[in-house]
Symmetry: C2
Subunit: 442 residues, 2 copies
Amino acid sequence: MAFRVEDRVRPYDLIRKKRDGGELTAEEITSLVDGFVRGEVADYQVSAWLMAVYFRGMTHRETADLTMAMARSGRMLDLRGIPGVKVDKHSSGGVGDKTSLVVVPLVASCGVPVPKMSGRGLGHTGGTLDKLESIPGLRTAVEVEAFVEQVRRLGCAIVGQTADLVPADKKLYALRDVTATVDSIPLIASSIMSKKIAGGADAIVLDVKAGSGAFMKDLHSARTLAQVMVAIGSQLGRRTVALVTDMDQPLGHAVGNAVEVREAVATLRGEGPGDLTELCLSLGAEMLRLGGRARELDEARQLLVDRLRDGAGLRKLQEMVSAQGGDPAAVEDLDRLPSAPVVLEVCSQQEGYVQGIDAEAVGRVAVILGAGRARKEDRVDPAVGLTVLAKRGARVARGDVVALVHARTLDDAQRAASGLLEAYRVGPVPPEPRPLVHGRVG
Amino acid sequence: MAFRVEDRVRPYDLIRKKRDGGELTAEEITSLVDGFVRGEVADYQVSAWLMAVYFRGMTHRETADLTMAMARSGRMLDLRGIPGVKVDKHSSGGVGDKTSLVVVPLVASCGVPVPKMSGRGLGHTGGTLDKLESIPGLRTAVEVEAFVEQVRRLGCAIVGQTADLVPADKKLYALRDVTATVDSIPLIASSIMSKKIAGGADAIVLDVKAGSGAFMKDLHSARTLAQVMVAIGSQLGRRTVALVTDMDQPLGHAVGNAVEVREAVATLRGEGPGDLTELCLSLGAEMLRLGGRARELDEARQLLVDRLRDGAGLRKLQEMVSAQGGDPAAVEDLDRLPSAPVVLEVCSQQEGYVQGIDAEAVGRVAVILGAGRARKEDRVDPAVGLTVLAKRGARVARGDVVALVHARTLDDAQRAASGLLEAYRVGPVPPEPRPLVHGRVG
């Protein structure tokens, strides 16, 4: 067995340096990333290096350099043709997280341009693109030029990442995924931020989720991830703020695709669930402040509330839907969205206070119904999903309807119902309140 | 970029388990090793696992299971046709270490069969096969059947490992070599022991070197390596003893190939350097005891001394040389061995006591002369080398001859001489004595 002779030279030294706790220079990190993308650095060396990073970590400087090296591996968007401070928004993913569908048009309706590239759902977490595509006709595969033009003209767009965006991240993530090196905060942070940097916005608001439904289960990790991402943004000259927010139970009530669009529209009408509305206002206020539309968060928040009241945010969503080929009437008349043939009521079999709802378990139930993907290749069913009615702290009696299942078949619905009941914890006394926003970094 | 779907299954779990500090089962380790050898487990996964092992270590049980899985990956020698307890010997490598050339025939001359498979030199350390091959005509590439038959008939053989011995180790080592995962004690120990286990001996005596010329620079690491290897031997039912011995300066005087054979012959005549003779007696006594020829080490030692006196060890070397196609007269008449055209005296430029001789530096000088290999593909020159006359503790005056260089050209000789002088440290007072045998494990 002979591995390549040239492997003995530079990549070897970089693996050893990280293995021994050293700090790689920007030039070293760039040579590793570029070499990997070009196929000159072997995957077996990169995976050893990734595992060394897993154990040794990276400094903020190294993490920022890795982010930049990845961002530069593909196309970097140039948004200078769009007037104003462009503000991007990212969520680390969760269950029932339809925030982008609300916040992007709402902030744009206040005059701050929001160029947003999103991802698809995978595993128990949903994806904004899948949700948006439940609107008949809507396209998220948009050419970069059309994307930029739409943001310039309308103030916002939500599209899929183009294939030429951050190829290094795609290749590195695929390798991390099979070598147990996903769970490393600097690697997670640089993966997320590389896409934001390549996306070209001037400022970034991050929503880092913590809890059972989040990638980061504990608050400490979520806070650390937020800090590292804010540090990367600042090192790379992008104003960045992160909120650490709760994902210990689903956000809002709806979990799925069309059901989440319905809830997002309700929220833009000012009739949304309290937690979702509150989170949208918190994130949106940060975006308006970074976008220069308000000096203070209170002032920014009031602007957003006004846009909920006067319907400007909803109209902006309609414009965006229309621009991307979707049926704008579906946003007015929600019956035009796909709906599931079977709706089953899920009744509590216990009595007491809801102590918690395992958000990851709820997400898995949604995947089983067909609302999400177990594997990347899977197709999602836009119509199916869940409505989680009784949330943390709610008082339930035996037989109370705690949730609705929207399913393709009765069999699916019954399986989902029993899975959902297992996600509920009910106890005799009300639970301690858990804040929606755990902290802010920026 | 898509890595293989099946990579997400078992290998992934084993990487993660080790990453998180878990202990792999024998079955898990075997599936990883076998899968890697068969090409079913990807090298990028094995390298990530190796790096996780680097950081997390392995229990003695895991290390023994890895050793056995590697040993079983190829041919396992069956030595049951040879009567008696077969005792193998291994040295972790050093500079001027010609111990095997002395100990193997000496122990065999006492009636304990020694079936020895050796390696070649690499980097600053020499290899027994290269030394032996400086005897005209001698072959070390011997078929397994002929090897077993020679040990049965004569009591000993020193041959190269056959290609079908421990293929897993060859493949794993090649991967470790390019991924900075060589320096891991359980990986080093299992690599060495897998070859000993596949070699089929009943008992094993290990010489673990510590010091500047050794792979293990510090005593603590050498002792740990010795302990792990003895634990592996005991778990796998082979009686194993390890001596931790000094390699802070070259062993004996000669460093090279033919020059080392000359010194080995002198030692078998009872005229060898004190340190080399002492080490051969210490290792040989352990071998005789494990081989059941003596109950106590003192008694074993006396048997060996008798064989040095009566020349039986030397005759055994001649028989072995002859059996392997070498010129037996070359062992009597050392002038028949290759000699270098240029012999240069190296004179001290300082006055005082030799504090130490950097053995690794001496080994590198020998490589430059052509006695060793910088790369595996390199050929060695049997004639060239060094004679280190003044050793640690010696009193030297300015102009005293401290060493001889045996070179192909005067230019080579002069470069070697200056390199050699740099390896010497001379000071005004005698150094503290450093023991030859630092410890014993078994």
